[in-house]
């Protein structure tokens, strides 16, 4: 990616807000888009959409199993339903999603906020550390976790064009923009944010801005690792990963998710297909979270800026 489209802007907005605003902008004159909400419009950002298009907004109540099955029925008649809730509550309807959205290849867009430790003080009941793992196992699903507001806007536009089921994770924390508005997002593509050597960090979603800052600090210290942003977790940009395997000694995956089943696992599948390299998976070490601010939790569970800096320096010195 050209450096022209990379920028840390001063805009600070959460990914869920960015999603709600983006969808509202994109839906102008598109009567096919319906938003389904399970009593969490303020939490998912869809209140923006409801305000502008009340007739295209369906309040489903706290009843996710019914909501996701309904979404499939609605999609069967040509609409594009955006079924939205917290990430963890999509799992409550996992079996409905499996039979009626995944297996049906239904044109349903599932957009969830509150993924990972980024949830913060609500604690483990709301911190979904398993969504990528679950959705990765479902046929037909495309999984996207954008890293900033500009990417969120682009991704929202692209998933409307794509026919088929999508799972997209937003986020709760305010986040600075990495990309400029002219950035072109493509489903299934990873992006090199820094071209370095020996070590290649691959991050997704909200972790990308943390990694971006960590790389800046590392460069000041004289270390220059590669950084790849991987907004699409399925289908994974295998070619880009294989290229990095040839040019680097270590890969480091960096995600706000259990180390089992998410981005790290997806990369390890590429490696086990015969593209050998050592991979260090950074994420939640197969344990549940707890209450605390997102930054405190990421420090405690070692997926913050400092943890990545330390890990990369250690690998450089090996």
């Amino acid at each position: 990616m050209s450096t022209k489209s990379i920028e840390i802007s001063k805009t600070i907005i959460s990914l869920r807000e960015a999603f709600g605003i983006s969808l509202t902008k994109i839906s102008v004159k598109n009567k096919k888009i319906l938003v389904l909400d399970a009593d969490l419009k303020g939490g998912t950002g869809t209140h923006h959409f409801e305000k502008k298009y009340p007739n295209q907004f369906i309040q489903c109540g706290i009843a996710e199993q019914n909501m996701f099955s309904m979404a499939s029925g609605i999609a069967s008649l040509g609409f594009i339903p955006f079924a939205t809730t917290f990430a963890v509550f999509t799992l409550r309807a996992f079996e409905q999603i499996r039979l009626q959205i995944s297996y049906e290849n239904a044109n349903v867009k599932i957009v969830s906020s509150h993924g990972g430790l980024d949830v913060g003080p609500d604690g483990k009941s709301a911190q979904c550390l398993e969504d990528f793992a679950c959705f990765r196992s479902l046929p037909n699903f495309t999984i996207i976790s954008p890293c900033d507001a500009n990417e969120m806007f682009q991704a929202t536009k692209e998933i409307i064009k794509l026919k088929g089921p999508v799972y997209m994770r937003t986020g709760r924390s305010p986040i600075t923009n990495i990309y400029k508005k002219n950035y072109k997002f493509k489903i299934g593509k990873g992006y090199i944010l820094n071209k370095g050597k020996k070590i290649c960090v691959i991050s997704t979603g909200i972790q990308t801005s943390i990694a971006f800052n960590a790389i800046k600090i590392l460069k000041n210290k004289g270390f220059n690792p590669t950084l790849i942003s991987m907004p699409t977790i399925k289908p994974l940009d295998k070619n880009l990963i294989i290229k990095q395997i040839k040019n680097h000694k270590y890969l480091v995956s960096f995600e706000d998710h259990n180390i089992i089943g998410g981005l790290g696992s997806a990369i390890s599948e590429v490696i086990s297909d015969g593209n050998f390299i050592k991979l260090i998976r950074m994420g939640m070490m197969d344990i549940p979270g707890q209450s605390g601010e997102a930054s405190e939790l990421k420090k405690k569970f070692q997926i913050d800026e400092n943890a990545l800096i330390k890990k990369v320096i250690k690998l450089f010195n090996l």
Partner: protein
């Protein structure tokens, strides 16, 4: 309803029951009890409201729709299409076979003329709620008919959908309960009773009608009944599990998934006055 019309319905139902049992016999597994109980309901909806003349008609958007949420009873639907000569009756005897389009539960991926993939209870009902919403948005003035089972009502999802249907004023949604009183393991009342059912349904705000689900006159009355409000319609169709075959009627073990013996299929077919060539077909396949 005129008596000759009723007789015609009964003839189609009887043939559907015969085809249902033969296909389950050949498959070596399936759910005869709940298929036989729902035959008359499916027959009535299909002939009176779907008016499908050939398989292509299923592709029409603007029409009444039928969702079989109790998907394990799908042999009754395939058999009805065969009884109506929309399908060749011999084809449906590949039920549950490898590469057959006649899947064990309704599956839109393999069977283009089923309206929804169901089989996991509760889900088809919500899918129907979704289609009823879509029809309202599209201003299509047709109905979505969804058939659910009584054991299925133990799924919380059913009650989630009922609550919302009333809130969204889905008067285009017609829910028919095949109330045969038996589920997989035992009588519903012994597992987790859904009674007092009428009070429950009324309290959820549905327009309730309680009928004999094997009487075409009563079905006709229930389906025709109009209301001034915008609430969904809920028809409790009291039925008999295993209807038409005396040794299956009201016996929980015939829910499924059951392997029928040659004696059992022949006795059933004799009781249903099946053509001799069909009985011979079963004997030959042994």
């Amino acid at each position: 309803m005129k008596s000759n019309k009723i007789k015609k319905f009964q003839q189609i139902s009887n043939l559907s029951r015969i085809y249902t049992l033969i296909s389950i016999y050949f498959a070596g597994s399936g759910h005869p009890g709940g298929s036989l109980s729902v035959v008359d309901i499916i027959n009535f909806i299909f002939i009176k409201y779907l008016k499908i003349k050939n398989l292509k008609d299923f592709k029409i958007i603007n029409r009444n729709r039928f969702i079989l949420s109790k998907g394990h009873a799908v042999p009754a639907f395939y058999s009805l299409l065969a009884a109506k000569k929309i399908l060749k009756f011999k084809d449906i005897f590949s039920l549950r076979n490898i590469n057959s389009i006649f899947q064990g539960h309704p599956d839109t991926m393999y069977t283009p003329f089923v309206e929804a993939s169901t089989g996991s209870l509760g889900q088809g009902f919500s899918y129907a709620v979704g289609q009823a919403i879509a029809y309202k948005k599209l201003k299509i003035n047709k109905n979505i008919f969804v058939v659910i089972g009584d054991g299925e009502m133990q799924e919380g999802q059913i009650w989630e959908g009922l609550m919302l249907s009333k809130n969204l004023k889905l008067d285009n949604l017609v829910i028919i309960l095949d109330y045969n009183k038996i589920q997989s393991d035992d009588f519903v009342k012994n597992i987790s009773s859904i009674e007092p059912l009428q009070d429950k349904i009324k309290s959820f705000g549905c327009n309730l009608i309680n009928i004999n689900g094997h009487s075409f006159e009563e079905l006709d009355y229930a389906f025709n009944k109009k209301y001034k409000n915008k609430n969904p319609k809920f028809i409790i169709a009291n039925t008999i599990k295993g209807k038409g075959v005396s040794f299956m009627e009201n016996v929980p073990s015939w829910h499924g998934s059951v392997k029928m013996s040659l004696d059992q299929i022949i006795n059933s077919l004799v009781e249903l006055k099946a053509e001799k060539k069909l009985i011979k077909l079963c004997e030959k396949k042994l």
